[in-house]
């Protein structure tokens, strides 16, 4: 048995406490410094812009002239992106949270996260250089497909009901997200083979000519529709992730309660689950909008960068983010163009910051509500 050690003889390190205090101070200084640096972005923009606004270097008229088309372009691009992304993301979130098996769902989330990881440059490249010319050549097919896709899915549902129950079990609704893929492909192939015939029948052979003649609409190769699809693709995963969290966080008891009262599945969804999750979904859409507004490369590559202000989905636009990316390197610091672009950046910053803060506030309130309900948030 070894004798108990005598620690009194062990040298005590007196500077341990001093080190602790020093380290706490350093960490505080460093941490605060970092956070300040990160938040300095807003401060910097304000500092660059406000003096110019106030000492008259920048007239409101010039601002309006230069920034309005870009602001319009930004909003238009974001609108079209949302138009495409929100139904897709919500639909996917609803299916994922409420109808899918857990295993499939746990595989689906990372897969759709991959979509988010796609760099904007690549999506923009494919949209602007590959999709845009192709869509222009197959415009009728594309538009028809957009209409036919939902109908095609419903057709699949109708056909599914007639399948023998063995088949129905294997191709269950829970797995429909997977086996509808080949169906949609088939649908697309059918649409594109029929499209030329349709074009001749309805539009006298050339839709673009028809658009110009009958509706006075110009068709630009790179236009808002392309940007919408591309940016929607890029933004959809964020909305999906947040909406899915919101939907699966709704306490099961709410849905079960409705069922006990005899509501059908869809009624339960529509009247109970969705309203309960609506703040979260709202937050998801907000965050998606923020991202759509700030996306630069896709708009740069797929929109034609024309500073137009039109409502037509077939025409291009120029967004603030793209404008900044292209023009700021050329602008001389301190010049009017420079300050204008800084102002554009400041507007972008404020918009996204507000939208994100709003979304975060909504979400934290939702979390608190669920904690009160004892839900599985």
């Amino acid at each position: 048995m070894i004798e108990p050690p005598n620690l009194a003889s062990a040298p005590r390190l007196p500077w341990r406490r001093r080190l602790d205090r020093l380290a706490t101070g350093l960490i505080a200084a460093g941490g605060i410094g970092v956070i300040v640096a990160v938040m300095a972005i807003g401060a910097f923009l304000v500092v660059e812009v406000l003096p110019a606004l106030f000492d008259g270097r920048l007239e409101m008229e010039r601002v309006r002239l230069a920034l309005t088309p870009m602001a319009w372009g930004t909003l238009k691009a974001a609108l079209w992106a949302m138009l495409f992304a929100v139904p897709l993301a919500l639909g996917a979130a609803i299916h994922s949270a409420l109808f899918m098996t857990r295993r499939l769902r746990s595989r689906m989330k990372p897969t759709l996260e991959m979509m988010e990881a796609m760099p904007g440059v690549v999506v923009g490249f494919v949209a602007g250089l590959v999709m845009a010319p192709w869509v222009e050549r197959h415009l009728v097919g594309v538009l028809t497909l957009m209409l036919l896709l939902p109908l095609g899915v419903l057709l699949a549902a109708g056909l599914w009901r007639r399948l023998p129950s063995g088949w129905r079990r294997r191709l269950s609704l829970a797995r429909a997200g997977l086996w509808l893929v080949p169906w949609l492909l088939l649908l697309a192939l059918a649409t594109f083979s029929l499209a030329p015939w349709l074009e001749v029948l309805l539009f006298g052979g050339d839709l673009r000519v028809w658009l110009d003649r009958e509706l006075g609409l110009d068709y630009a190769t790179r236009n808002a529709m392309i940007v919408g699809v591309a940016m929607g693709f890029a933004v959809m995963p964020s909305i999906y992730a947040l909406a899915e969290d919101a939907l699966s966080g709704v306490p099961g008891r709410l849905g079960e309660g409705a069922h006990a009262l005899g509501a059908t599945r869809w009624q339960t969804l529509w009247r109970v689950v969705l309203p309960a999750a609506s703040p979260g979904i709202f937050a998801a859409v907000m965050i998606g909008t923020g991202r759509a507004v700030g996306e630069t490369m896709i708009v740069l590559m797929a929109s034609g960068n024309a500073a137009l202000m039109s409502l037509s989905p077939f025409e291009g636009m120029r967004s603030m983010a793209a404008g900044i990316a292209v023009e700021l390197p050329e602008a001389v610091p301190g010049s009017e163009a420079y300050v204008l672009l800084m102002l554009a950046a400041l507007l972008l910053f404020i918009f996204t910051f507000l939208v994100n803060t709003l979304a975060e506030v909504v979400r934290s309130r939702l979390r608190r509500r669920y904690r009160w309900l004892g839900g599985a948030a």
């Binding site: 070894i2 108990p4 050690p5 620690l7």
Partner: protein
């Protein structure tokens, strides 16, 4: 019905009695002196005006219904409440005569002198050796040989050496619950504390491990002062020399264990004891 006891009345119980009780408790043989201590969590009181003396080299148990404040009191003794900003407390606590809350006191040294074992064993995700040596490395300046010696001694004192001597490098998390708890005791012993606080150390363990822990507590009495919080009254009766019964944050009764369990002076103590033992 509860009669209010003043600190002096409580102290008078510990004069050597005329009948020559087996346990002699000289006031100068007290390790901790807790005087008029109250504590509140963000305004809500958790301890009210507690005064008692903890005898040196004895096992003192704190018992009481859950929420009575026994763990809270325990954690005050090694100033773990310092971590929590919402806690406010008053009163004095003396360790061997020195106020532990005095501004010049080094908290880390206090915590070396007053070790703690928690309810759920919490070994670090390191090897067994490193767990025991953790406190030693903090002190610094020990040779490898010396550290090995101390680690072996600590594990022996915690009755764990034979079971782990061949696998000191294995991860501490590979041990069973009872072994982990003994490991935690060993690492506390390695820094040679004067007091060991044990917060329900066996409540998460199986009966056999529990007995081993109780044996260990008894064997450590000769080296240190032990304060044990437990909800298991049989355990308190088996292991401790003195027992304090707390209820609603107040000290209801404090007496040598035999006396408290066989002849409690207060109705509430009796109710608690008999209620649980029935």
């Amino acid at each position: 019905m509860r009669r209010k006891r003043s600190p002096m009345t409580l102290l008078s119980r510990f004069q050597p009695s005329a009948s020559g009780s087996i346990i002699d408790f000289d006031p100068t043989a007290s390790c901790f002196e807790i005087e008029g201590v109250s504590l509140a969590y963000g305004g809500k009181p958790a301890l009210r005006d507690i005064s008692l003396r903890v005898p040196r080299h004895r096992v003192t148990a704190f018992i009481g219904p859950s929420g009575c404040g026994k763990s809270t009191l325990l954690r005050l003794l090694n100033r773990l409440h310092d971590l929590n900003e919402e806690v406010s407390h008053s009163g004095r606590i003396l360790l061997e005569g020195e106020d532990i809350h005095a501004p010049e006191v080094a908290v880390d040294e206090l915590r070396r002198r007053v070790g703690m074992v928690f309810q759920v064993p919490n070994p670090f995700p390191m090897s067994i050796y490193e767990n025991v040596a953790f406190g030693l490395r903090l002190q610094g300046g020990l040779t490898r040989r010396r550290m090995d010696d101390i680690v072996e001694w600590a594990l022996q004192s915690a009755a764990l050496w034979d079971e782990v001597k061949d696998r000191l490098r294995a991860s501490a998390w590979s041990l069973s619950g009872g072994q982990q708890q003994r490991l935690v005791i060993a690492r506390s012993l390695a820094v040679r504390p004067e007091v060991l606080l044990l917060d329900e150390p066996a409540s998460a363990l199986d009966p056999i491990s529990t007995l081993k822990i109780e044996e260990l507590i008894r064997s450590l009495k000769s080296q240190l002062t032990l304060i044990l919080v437990t909800h298991n009254m049989q355990q308190a009766a088996r292991v401790s020399d003195y027992t304090a019964f707390l209820q609603d944050g107040q000290l209801v009764e404090y007496a040598p264990t035999d006396t408290l369990f066989t002849n409690p002076s207060l109705r509430s103590t009796e109710n608690y004891i008999t209620g649980r033992m029935a």
